[in-house]
Symmetry: C2
Subunit: 149 residues, 2 copies
C-alpha cells in the first residue's frame, strides 16, 4: 500500500477500486441485521413492491463501496477520520449477483488553518454496477495527515 498524505491527493486525483459481487445471502443477512424492511428481506413482499424483487439495502451498497475503497488503500495511511458525508443518492436498485466497484475523484483539498498537521479532502464516490450504471453516489470529507516536514 502506497503511503499517501494529504499533499499527495490534490483536486482531480482519481482512483478506482476492485469489484465485488453481492450474493442474495449477503443481501438478506445484512438487511436482517441493519435494514429489515420487507423489500430487502422477504422475497414475496419484495416481488409485490415497486422494486419487483429483493434489492440490497442502500446502507449495504454504501458499506461494500467503503470496504472496497479501504482495500484500494489510497488514503488509509493518512486517515484521521471523517466529519461527514453529503449528497448520498441511491440511483438504481442493486439486485442479487450485481457486481459493484467504486470510482472516486478528489473534489477539493483544503489545508487546516488551525492544525498545520492535517487537511480536509473532499472525495466524490460513485458506485457502479457491472453494466456501467452508477447505482449510488456520495461525497465524503476525509481529515488526512500532511506529509511531515
Amino acid at each position: 500500500m502506497t503511503k499517501r498524505y494529504f499533499d499527495d491527493l490534490p483536486a482531480g486525483f482519481r482512483f478506482e477500486t476492485d469489484a465485488q459481487r453481492l450474493t442474495l445471502d449477503e443481501i438478506l443477512d445484512f438487511a436482517r441485521q441493519w435494514d429489515p424492511q420487507p423489500f430487502h428481506t422477504d422475497a414475496a413482499a419484495a416481488a409485490d413492491s415497486p422494486f419487483g424483487g429483493i434489492i440490497a439495502s442502500g446502507f449495504h451498497t454504501m458499506l461494500v463501496g467503503f470496504v472496497l475503497t479501504l482495500k484500494a488503500g489510497v488514503w488509509n495511511a493518512a486517515s484521521m477520520g471523517s466529519p461527514g458525508m453529503d449528497a448520498i443518492r441511491w440511483l438504481k436498485p442493486v439486485r442479487p449477483d450485481d457486481e459493484l466497484h467504486v470510482v472516486a475523484e478528489v473534489m477539493s483539498s483544503t489545508p487546516s488553518r488551525s492544525k498545520p498537521d492535517r487537511g480536509a479532502t473532499v472525495i466524490r464516490y460513485d458506485v457502479l454496477r457491472g453494466d456501467g450504471e452508477t447505482v449510488m453516489s456520495y461525497t465524503a470529507t476525509h481529515i488526512l495527515r500532511r506529509r511531515p516536514a
Copy 2:
C-alpha cells in the same frame, strides 16, 4: 405499530426512539467487517490516535440509529424506500458503553406530482448520547405511501 401514511407525518411531526448501549465487542465486530481503520479496531493504535481510544465507526452509529428508528415503527408501514440522505455529520466520538437514542423531526412533506399514491418526507435525525450530547445528525428522504382514498 400504528399504521401511518405520508399524510400522517406533516412537517413538524416529532418522534423519539428507545435507547441502545454499544458494547466494545459490538464496536470491534462491526468495524472489523465494515470499517477496519485502526482507531476503530486496535486499542493500542486508537490510544495513540487523536481520539485517545477506540471509537465506534460512524457507519455503526448511523445503522444503530436506523435500527432504533425502524423499531419505533413510525413510517415503516408506508415505506417505499429512500432516494437519498444529506448532511451526515459526525459531531462527537461514540465510545464503548455509550447509550444512543434518536430524536427525529419531519422537515418537509411533499406529495409527488407524477405519482398520486406517494410523497417525499424529509426527516432530520439526531443521534444523542446518554449525556444529552448530539453525536451525529443527518437528514433522509423517505418515499411514503399516501392514505388510500
